[in-house]
Symmetry: C2
Subunit: 126 residues, 2 copies
């Protein structure tokens, strides 16, 4: 697959790369519209998929309600706030090797650690 780095795609990639909040597609769409008022939601989804296919970003399965995107394609872990769904990176290596027997016959390709907790902001407002 040859993929074109169109102005829309260039913008979205640039936006993502400087955003550490792990935005949703809607978040990206809202910001992108400031530069391309006519950009469609579908283009945002398409672009996020293309960038993901090309290992420039990664999609997270961490927020029950919506997909979230991370500008860092390298494997790493996350903490999610159970109150406000804020997501932050954890750049640490954990020893989570599974031996043959415990892998239940699966061919393991990777693993992710997800931490659940309450963020500083949500901790304040009790």
């Amino acid at each position: 697959m040859q993929f074109r780095l169109t102005p829309q795609r260039m913008l979205i990639l640039k936006l993502l790369k400087k955003d550490t909040t792990h935005p949703s597609a809607e978040d990206v769409y809202k910001v992108a519209k400031k530069n391309f008022p006519n950009i469609s939601f579908k283009t945002v989804y398409n672009t996020l998929q293309v960038l993901q296919d090309n290992r420039l970003i990664q999609e997270l399965i961490i927020d029950r309600r919506k997909k979230r995107y991370c500008p860092d394609p390298k494997p790493h872990h996350h903490i999610i706030c159970t109150e406000c769904n804020k997501v932050v990176d954890v750049h640490l290596k954990f020893n989570t090797r599974l031996n043959e027997k415990r892998a239940e016959g699966f061919k393991i390709t990777g693993s992710k650690v997800t931490f659940y907790g309450v963020c500083p902001e949500c901790n304040m407002t009790v």
Copy 2:
């Protein structure tokens, strides 16, 4: 909250407890209908929520497409097949403690390890 163990709820709990496939709400609904042909999808969702609130089962955020339910309320980990979304348990303890600094100010309440891989069945069909 006082919760009634109605026939519908009793059935759903019983079904779940003997199902190790981490079924979706729809999966549960389909099986439940064999015993209660008039049971509504909403009752299934309500029941799954009630059982979860009462720590009898747990809901997993692991499958992009739908909620999945696990009959074991105790913390444990999972492997998910990236081909067919099959989920199996991993009953092992991993050392994933985060020190104060790495927790980014979050009050950590728990953590989960998710393994990604290809299940034996999907491995066959290549």
